[in-house]
């Protein structure tokens, strides 16, 4: 146990002191998140909202005019059902519902009474979390303004946020779990490089001449990968939340479980690469050959649906497809490509098979 800890620490120190490795595993995905996050979120200046006026009064018409005049919104009138259908098609970003009784409350307040406040519902899609957040803020701001105008002080209108999952993730929310999945994939397959280096430099052979058990050697390498995975996850999620305003409403334990499973599966794939690569150059080559199709055919940069059908078939075999899908589902409530248990089963299957292959073919010297 002491040896396992010491060896993990040694591997971690080696990793941290290797500036290139540090950059590619930690800084690179962050640059990616920020760069693409900014590109994809830059389009959201104008929001299209469904306007459901259930009051049909002068007061609701005045509120509508105030919204259009004071906020970057474009309103489309309709019933709630019509608006919901539009939102599901992606024609509108959210729905504002003005309930029946608005005029009555305002009249009562102006007559000196103290009526119960009335609720304006703001329906947004949590999977498009930064759009949702913006719409809620805009709606809240305008409703507060209307309150002041109408009554001077008392809150006659409140905002009730509501959710409607449309199944279409917007780019930034889609991106954070996807980049996390990609980073975990790279972390895992790149595990092959230090392994092959250590074999080439005869470090593995030298360790084999000590009583250190092999499980401790493998265990320390995996432990280091998991520690780095945890740091990566914290950084990517942290930047997603603070810089890009993405909300991660999912269950942290479930997310952590898939991060762990993903890191283990791809590290195991890294061991398979190290089993067949004799030199560091070969390991670099194989790693590239493995990671690029994974990166582009697993729904990381664009959804699998846009791929031609034969590539779609390829994508259904890629483990990264399932890790990305699982993380999008668990983190931002993304529409499932397959049910979550299938994601877990496929990743688990890859893990078992690759462990078997590396147990059979991995060479220490």
């Amino acid at each position: 146990m002491r040896a396992l800890r010491a060896l993990s620490l040694a591997n971690l120190k080696s990793f941290v002191r290797d500036r290139a490795a540090l950059f590619w595993t930690l800084a690179f995905p962050i640059v990616f998140v920020i760069l693409f996050g900014t590109i994809f979120s830059g389009s959201g200046a104008q929001y299209e909202l469904g306007w459901v006026d259930q009051d049909g009064s002068a007061a609701s018409a005045a509120l509508r005019a105030a919204f259009v005049a004071n906020a970057p919104v474009e309103l489309t009138d309709g019933t709630f059902e019509e608006s919901k259908a539009r939102m599901q098609k992606g024609d509108v970003d959210g729905i504002l519902v003005i309930p029946k009784g608005l005029q009555a409350v305002i009249d009562a307040a102006q007559g000196g009474q103290h009526p119960d406040p009335i609720q304006v519902s703001v329906v947004t899609d949590p999977s498009r979390s930064n759009t949702a957040l913006a719409i809620q803020q805009i709606a809240t701001g305008l409703v507060m303004g209307a309150n002041l105008q109408l009554s001077g002080a008392a809150a006659l209108l409140t905002v009730a946020p509501e959710s409607l999952q449309t199944g279409q993730l917007n780019s930034v929310s889609f991106f954070v779990p996807s980049i996390l999945a990609m980073a975990l994939m790279q972390l895992g397959v790149f595990a092959s490089i230090p392994l092959v280096q250590q074999r080439e430099k005869l470090i593995l052979k030298r360790l084999n001449a000590t009583p250190l058990p092999r499980w401790a050697l493998v265990g320390s390498n995996v432990a280091v990968r998991l520690i780095i995975a945890a740091v990566q996850t914290a950084l990517i999620v942290g930047i997603g939340i603070t810089v890009l305003g993405v909300q991660i409403p999912g269950n942290p334990l479930l997310i952590a479980a898939f991060v762990l499973l993903g890191a283990l599966t791809f590290t195991s794939i890294g061991y398979v690469i190290a089993s067949f690569a004799r030199t560091e150059e070969a390991a670099n080559g194989i790693t590239s050959v493995v990671q690029f199709p994974l990166m582009f055919l697993s729904g990381i940069f664009f959804p699998i649906e846009v791929l031609p059908s034969w590539l779609k078939t390829v994508a259904t075999f890629m483990p990264l497809t399932y890790l990305g899908d699982a993380l999008r589902q668990t983190m931002v409530g993304g529409a499932p490509f397959v049910p979550l248990w299938v994601d877990g089963a496929v990743l688990g299957g890859w893990l078992v098979v690759t462990l078997g292959v590396s147990a059979r073919f991995f060479r220490w010297q």
């Binding site: 040896a3 010491a6 430099k201 084999n208 000590t210």
Partner: protein, 311 residues
């Protein structure tokens, strides 16, 4: 050599074979190393020295044959043996980004028993480099660190594979001192080398290897004495007495003229020298650069293999 290992043999190698494809790397090797001795495997590159040593260390399994270290069978007790031996591999294998003390401390955690890191730094004169990353060490420092790593567990048996290859003469002398100190501490040492003078300077006993076989083994004196009974009396060729007179000197078997020297091969050095001085005195001269040389390991190797060891 055959049969059960002797009671006091720390290392017993009995009829061991190892092939890689068609290449017979080790082709029936047997020898024993007694407690507290420095035993050398001498031979050119590719003779099978390293493969033999690494099989004893438990790094490769032999195709056939018996290997015992400290009375334990290498096949069944590899971990127990590894706890009590120290191994220096031919190519120093180190974590490039770790410092000297970090690496020594790391290896310490692999063993039940260990020497203090400070002691190792002192013994191998690595104190000044304690905080240097191993990638920044010189060849000699790297080699000393590699030996230090082999001593982390205060081992009873130390394996050194070409410990001085690539070192300058001063660094080589320094490592010889270290190896002698290991012997003084009561450790048993098995080392490989392809340097004659290293084998002569350090090893109590030797096995001369070539093409995967042990050609002969014993002390340096035994190895030379078994085939060279004569010594050479060397002196300057300029002004030397004529050949016929030299050939007639007592105990001389033959006279060889080299570039600047005459060599008299004799079975009795004092008698031959007395005769030579008598000749030169009468001529009113004296032999220039008179020197007596016995056959060397080099000559033994030449005799055994038909070629020189120098590579």
């Amino acid at each position: 050599m055959l049969g059960r290992p002797a009671q006091d043999a720390v290392i017993a190698v009995d009829d061991v074979y190892k092939s890689y494809g068609d290449v017979k790397a080790v082709d029936g090797v047997s020898f024993q190393v007694a407690k507290g001795e420095i035993f050398g495997l001498l031979g050119p590159n590719g003779a099978g020295k390293t493969t033999t040593m690494e099989m004893i260390e438990g790094l490769h399994a032999p195709d056939s044959g018996e290997l015992h270290v400290l009375g334990m069978d290498v096949r069944h007790s590899a971990t127990a043996i590894k706890n009590r031996i120290g191994v220096q591999l031919q190519t120093a294998a180190l974590y490039p980004q770790l410092t000297v003390t970090e690496l020594l401390a790391l290896f310490g955690t692999f063993y039940a028993r260990r020497q203090p890191v400070e002691q190792l730094l002192d013994d191998l004169e690595l104190g000044e480099k304690r905080n240097a990353q191993t990638k920044n060490l010189s060849g000699g420092q790297r080699q000393r660190l590699s030996v230090a790593l082999a001593l982390v567990n205060d081992p009873e048996v130390v394996f050194l594979d070409e410990p001085t290859t690539g070192l300058d003469p001063a660094a080589r002398q320094g490592l010889w001192t270290v190896v002698r100190r290991l012997k003084d501490q009561g450790r048993t040492i098995l080392m490989t080398t392809h340097y004659m003078e290293e084998a002569e300077a350090l090893c109590d006993r030797l096995a001369i290897m070539d093409h995967g076989k042990v050609l002969d083994s014993g002390t340096v004196d035994e190895l030379i004495g078994r085939r060279f009974h004569e010594r050479g009396v060397h002196f300057g060729r300029a002004g030397a007495p004529e050949a016929a007179k030299l050939e007639a000197l007592p105990a001389v078997s033959r006279v060889v003229y080299e570039q600047d020297e005459v060599v008299l091969f004799t079975s009795d050095v004092p008698v031959t020298i007395a005769g030579l001085l008598d000749l030169t005195n009468r001529a009113g001269t004296e032999p220039a650069n008179l020197m007596i040389r016995r056959a060397s390991l080099e000559d033994v190797f030449l005799e055994l293999t038909g070629r020189a060891l120098r590579d």
